[in-house]
Symmetry: D4
Subunit: 222 residues, 8 copies
C-alpha cells in the first residue's frame, strides 16, 4: 500500500511505525523539519517538511499514486483541507482524525472516513477503569460497550457454565485464562476465578452484567 501520513505528532509517529513495519510505501508530511529528520533516522520512509494544504507538497508526496492518506494533525482545518485536496486527487481511501466533534459533518460531506477525538477515546477508557479497577472498557459502539472483566473469587458466575446464565443483553466474546489460553466461549465453558472475560453489554444491562461477573457494585466511599 502507498500511504501518505500527514502530521508527526504522537499518533502520526506511531502510524508511521506501524505502516513501515507492515512493509508499505510510506510518505510523511509535517511542517516541522526537525520532526521529519527524526523520523527518517528511525524508519525507511520518505519525509517532506512542508504544508500539506499546499498542492505542490502533496504532489511531491506522490499523491497521484497514493492509495491512502491519513490526516492526524491537531488542527481540524488543516485535516479538512488536506483531505479534501486528496479526494480531488482521487485518493481512494482518505481517513482523518477529527479533534472537535462539531466538525465531523464537514469531513463526512467531503467523503472522508473519520475517527473522532482520539484523546476522548483514551479518556473514556481511563475513566471506566478509575471507577472500577477490575473492569476495563475496550471500546463502545452506539448502544453498548465492550469490557474486560476479571472474574472475582466470589462472583456469582464462578463455577457456572455460561449456558446457566440468563444473558439476554450481553454477549461473551472471549475468555483469557491463566497461562494465556484464549477461549471462544461456547455454552458449556465453566468460568473460573481469575478468568479475564471479554464481554459486550447493552447500555441498560451494564450494571447487571458487572454484578454477575464481578460483584463490584458496592456504593462509593464518599
Amino acid at each position: 500500500m502507498y500511504i501518505i501520513i500527514v502530521g508527526l505528532g504522537g499518533i502520526g509517529r506511531n502510524l508511521t511505525a506501524i505502516s513501515a513495519n507492515h512493509g508499505n510505501s510510506v510518505v510523511v508530511i509535517d511542517q516541522d523539519e526537525t520532526k521529519c529528520n527524526d523520523i527518517l533516522e528511525h524508519y525507511d520512509v520518505l519525509a517532506i517538511a512542508g504544508d500539506s494544504t499546499d498542492s505542490s507538497v502533496l504532489d511531491d508526496a506522490g499523491i497521484e499514486r497514493a492509495q491512502s492518506l491519513v490526516a492526524t494533525t491537531s488542527d481540524d482545518a488543516v485535516n479538512l483541507m488536506t483531505c479534501w485536496l486528496a479526494k480531488r486527487f482521487k485518493v481512494p481511501n482518505v481517513v482523518s482524525i477529527v479533534n472537535q466533534k462539531e466538525h465531523s459533518a464537514l469531513f463526512k460531506e467531503v467523503g472522508v472516513k473519520i475517527s473522532e477525538n482520539p484523546d476522548e477515546l483514551v479518556a473514556t477508557r481511563l475513566y471506566y477503569w478509575a471507577e472500577n479497577p477490575n473492569m476495563q472498557q475496550l471500546a463502545s459502539i452506539p448502544g453498548g460497550t465492550i469490557f474486560e472483566v476479571v472474574a472475582e473469587d466470589d462472583a456469582p458466575i464462578i463455577n457456572h457454565e455460561i449456558r446457566e446464565l440468563e444473558v439476554k443483553n450481553f454477549v461473551f466474546i472471549a475468555i483469557r485464562r491463566a497461562g494465556g489460553e484464549l477461549i471462544i466461549p461456547s455454552g458449556d465453558v465453566k468460568i473460573r476465578p481469575g478468568d479475564v472475560i471479554t464481554v459486550f453489554t447493552k447500555k441498560e444491562a451494564e450494571k447487571e452484567c458487572i454484578a454477575i461477573l464481578n460483584r463490584q457494585l458496592k456504593s462509593p466511599k464518599a
Copy 2:
C-alpha cells in the same frame, strides 16, 4: 467518586470533562498555571498548578481521601513517581498511561493499573482503516481483534442466516441496521447489505472473516 487527575494534555482535559459530567469530585494537577485557569473556566473542579511529585501538592489535592488517581502526562517518570506516592498515600485505585512500553513493568511492580501508549492505540485503528475502508478496528486483545465491518452487497454472507456459516474462530457481537436498531445476534438473524457487523476474530482467522463478510481481499494496487 473523589478523583485526582494529573496532567492537562488532551487526554487529561477529556478525562476531566467526563469525570465532572458524571458528577464526581474532581481535582486536577498540572505544572502550567494557564492550563489550570483554563479548565476552571469550563468545569466545576479544583485545579492546582504545581508538581504532582511534590508531596505537599498531593496533600493540597486531598490525596488522603481520594478514591482514584489517574496520571496522564506524557512523561513516564512523572507518572511513575506520582502513582507511587499515591499508592503510599493508600489511594485505592491508581491508574496511569504509559508512554513507553518498556516502562510497563515498573508501573506494575508498584501496583498501578496501566493503559499503554494511547497514541499507538489510535494509530492502529487508523491503520486498519487505511488498509480497508469498510472495516474499522475497535480494539485488540491478546490473540484476536474486534472489528466493525460493513456488509457489502455481494459479500457471501448476504441473505444467509448466521447459523449457516461455519464460524469456528470468530464471534458475532452485534449488528447495527439502518435506522439505528442494535441486534444481539442469534443464529437465525439474516444479514442484509449495509449492516454494520461487530465481530471478534482470532488473529489466524482474520482474512477468512473479512472474505465472508465483506469480500475486500483484492490484491493491493502497487
Copy 3:
C-alpha cells in the same frame, strides 16, 4: 449590516475600521487576545479572542444573525473551514481572501466569494509602476488592464481630441486635470499635458496605448 470579520492582520484591521466607520454592527474574531484588546481601544466593535473554526466561538459572535462574514487570515485552511461553517449557519454573504490560487476551487465549491492573493494584487501594481513611472496599473480583469497614465508633453495625443484617435481596443474612462476636475471623456475632449488619464486596454493593445498616450516605449538600459 451585521458583519463578522475573521483575522486581525493588516487587512482585517483595515476592514474593521471601514466597517465601523460606515456604522455597521461589527464583530471581530482573532486568536490573539492582544490584537483583540488593541482593536477595542480604537473602534466601537465586539472582539472575541478565539478560534473561528470553533462553533461555540461563532455562536458567541452572533453568527445566527450575521449578514456577512469575511475571512481575512493568512491561513487558507482556517478561512475555508470558517466560511464553510458560516454557510451552514446560513450567513447570506460569505467572503474570503485566498492566499494560494490552487485553493480557489474549494472555496467556490462551498459557495464562498473569494478575493485571490491580496499581496499579488499589490505586487502587480508596484511592478507596473517600477517598469514605467508614468503609468500606474489600477486593476486587471481577464483580458485587459485598467491604467492611469500621465500625458507627457510630447506624447502623440497631446492637443488632439479623443475622437481623432483610432481606439479600437481601449476605452477612455476618466480624465483628471490639474485643479482636481474629473472629466468623463466624450469625443470632443482635448488632451492636455499633465492630464491623468484612466484608460482600459485589452492585453494585446497595451503597448500601443502607452505609445500614443505617453511615449515611454524606450528600450530598457541593460
Copy 4:
C-alpha cells in the same frame, strides 16, 4: 530591467515572482537570512541578507546600475531612508509602499512614487463585496469607483441596448459574457442576464448605477 526589491514579506515575495517571471534582473534585500535562502530556492534572483539602509548593502545589490528600486517593508522609516539613498544613487525609478498615510508627504518630497496602505486597498474591496455580493469594487480614483456588477435576471437593463440608458455619470468599460468573451461596449450592445459588467461611476451616481444594473437596493436586514 534591473530591479532591486527591498523586503520579503508577502508583497515582496510576490513582486519577486512577477519580476523574475518577466525575465528581469532581480536583486532582493531582506534582514532575514532564512527568507533570502527560501527565495533563492524558488527564483533565479540574487538575494542579500542585510539592512537596506546600509550603503554597502545597496552597493552589493548593484544600486549603481539599478533602473528601479521598490521598497515593500512594513516599516515606513526603513522604506523612506532606503528610497532616499536610492535617489542619491540616481536610481531612475524609486517606488515604495507607505504604511501610514501621514508619511506620504515625506516620500513625495524625496521624489518617491508611493502606493499607500496596501491592506486598506484590499479591505475596501472586501467591504464592498460584503455589502453587495453581486458587485465587486476593482479600484477607486478621486471622485469615482470602478466596479464589476453581475447583471441580474430582473435588472432594468436586461435586454436593453446601452444607448437606451441615460448614462451621464458612468462609463461602461467592458462586458464579460458566459464563455469568456470580452466585449468593449459600443452603444448597440444588448445586456443579457449574467453578464459581468465593468463600469466606472462617479461617487454621486453609485446607487443609481447599481439600481439600473443589478436591482440590489433592498434595505438591509437589521
Copy 5:
C-alpha cells in the same frame, strides 16, 4: 570502573571531571546535545544526548556492563526511574542525589544509595561560617558536627596540652599548623595560636567547644 553519569548540570560536570581524571571508563547522558558536545571537548568520555529513562539510551550507554550509575539531575522523577531501570539491569552500584527530602523513601525502597539535597549541604556550611567567621562546618552526622576552628591568640586552649582539657563530648581529629604540617592529635600535643583544629562535637557541646578553642561567644550585635 565503568561509570554512567546522568545529567550534566554543575554536579554532573564535576563528577565527570573527577571520574575521567581517575582513569575510569565514563559515559554521560543528558537531554541537551549542546552540553554533551561541550563535555566531549574537555574529557575523554562517551556522551549520549537522550532521555535516560529510555531503555534504548541506557543500552547505548553500555548499562549491561556498568559498575556504577550516578543520577545527578534536578528532577527526582527522572533520577528515580533511571535508577530503578539501572537496578533492573543489575548495575551493582546505583547512586542518586535526591532533591526533595520526601522522595528519599522511594529511592531507598528501590535500593538506591542517595545523597540528599546537595544545595542544603552547602548552605548549612555557609550559614555556620556567616555566624562565626573563625569556624567552618565541614560535615554533620546525626547527633553531631565536624568543624574547623582557628585557635585565637587568647583562646583558653592556647599553650595547653590536649590531655589537660576535659573533653567528654568532642574529639580532636586533626591539627593543621602554619607551614602545612598535618598532625593527628595525641594527648601531649600543645595548641598554638593560628592552629587550624578539626574537631567533632556532639550537638549539646557545640558552644562549650567553641568557647574553649576560639572564645567567639560574644553576644550578637542586633
Copy 6:
C-alpha cells in the same frame, strides 16, 4: 544576626530557609523578581529584586547594619564585586562561594571567606560512593579525608576493641549503632557488624583503613 543573602539559586534558597528558621533578620537580593516573590511566600524575610553590585540596592538591603553578607550566585564576577562593596561598607563577616578555583586568590585579597566550588564538593562525595557503596566521604581537608564506613560482617575489625588495632594514620571519630546510639569511641569500644563508623584517615592510609574496617578491596570488574 542581620544577614544579607545574594542570589536565589538552590544554595541561596536553602541558606534563606536555614537563616530564617534560626530567627535571624534576613534580606535576600536577586535579579529575578519572580524568585523574590516566591521566597516571600515561604519565609519571613525581606527580598529585593535588583543588582547586588549596585550600591543603592545594597543600601536598600540595609548593608550599613548587616553583620554578614553571603554571595551565592553562579557568577564569580558578581560575587567578587558584591563582596568587595560589602567590605567597603564595613560588613564584619563576608562569605562567598567561588565557582572557579582560579578566582580564589582575588576573593582572599579582598578579605572574603570563601567556599570553593560547591558542585565539586558534592561530586567528590558521589564519586567516592560510586567507587565503594559501603563508604561515604563526608569531607576532606588538606592531607586527609573523613569517611563513613559500614562495618561488614566479615571485616577484620569485627568484634575487636579499637585499641587492638594499630591505627597510626587514622582517627575514630564516632560510631553510630543500630537504634541510633552515637558513641564517641574510646579504646575499649568493640565494633559490631552494621556499625556506621566515622573515621578520619590520612591520604596514604586510605586503602589500609578500608581494608580493616570493610574488606571492600576487591579488584574492579573491568
Copy 7:
C-alpha cells in the same frame, strides 16, 4: 526648555536624567513599555510607549510646543524619519545621533544637528589611552586633538615656564594641580611633576607635544 527625547537606550536614559535634573519639561518616547515604566519610577518626566514615527505619538508628546527633540535610537532610519517629522512640526532645535557615518548627509539635508557614532567617540578615547597610559584624549576636531597629559618627573617641560617652550602647533588650555586647583595657563606658569595638562595640538605636532610634556615615546614592545 520643553524637550522630547526619543529612545531609552543608555544615551537616552542619561539624557533624560540630565534634562530632568536641569529642571526642564521632559517627554520621552520608546517602543518598550517596560523601559518607559522604569524611567517614570526615577524621574519626574512624561513617558510615552509608542513609535516615534507615528504622528499621533508625537502629538501626544506635545510636539507642537517642544523646543528641542533629540533622537537617540540605534536605528538611523527611525532617527531620520522622527527628526524630519519634528522639523515639519516646526520644532526649533532638532538633534540626533547618527549611527552610520554614511547617513550623515541625509540628516543634514533635513536640517538636523547630528552627533556622529557615539560608540566610535568613546572607542577613540579608549584607544589613545591603551596606547599611552599617561595621555587621555578628550576630543578631536578636524585637524587636531585635545589631550590630557600627566607631566612625568623626567619630562623636558618640568620646571620650565610655558613661555620657554617653542609651541607653534599647540595650545595650553588648562592645568590641574594636586589639590584640585585649576590654572588657566599664562606664559609664566611653571610646570611641576604630576600636573595634569590639557593641551590642544595639531595632528602633525602630536608626537612632538608628547615628547616634551611626557617623554613616553619609547618604541612599542612587539
Copy 8:
C-alpha cells in the same frame, strides 16, 4: 601593540576597528559566538568566544604578552574581575569603561585606568546642543568645559581682534574658518561671522562667554 579587547558591543566593535586599522595585533573576547564570527569577517584579528573572567580564556588570548587590555562590556563586575586578572598577569596597561560611577573606586584600587559612563558623555554633549543649537560641547574637565561655538553675524565679537576682549576665564583654542582652514589663535586674529571657535571656559564664565561669542542668551520659550 598587542591589545586585548573584551566585549563586542558598540564600543568594543569600534575599538576593534580602530586598533586593527592602526596595524596592531588585536585579540577580542566576547561570550557571544555570533559576534565573534561577525568581527572575523571584517577585520584581521583573533576572536575568542568565551568568558573573559576565565583564566584559560585569557591564556588563549595571549594575556602573557599583551601590552594593553581594554574592558568594554556593560557589566562592571565582569570588567572589574577581568581587569584585575589582567593586572595579575602583569599587563602593563589596563583600561576599562565603568558603567556606574560608584564602582570607580574599586577599579582605581586595582590600578585600572577608567573611562566613566560613556553614555553619559554622549548624553551631556547632546544636552548642550539641545539647549543651544549653535554651541557644541566637546569635553569637560573638572571646573570647566570645552565648546565649539559658531560666531553669529551680530555677536559682539565679530570684527574684533581677540586681544580686545577681556578674557580672564576662557581660552581660545582654535578657529575653523569656511574653507577648512584651522587657525591657532593669536591675539591679532579677527573673528568673522561663521567662524567655528573652539574655546575653553571655566564653569562660572560659561554664560558670559556665550554672550560675547554668540548672543544666544534669550530667555527660553516656556
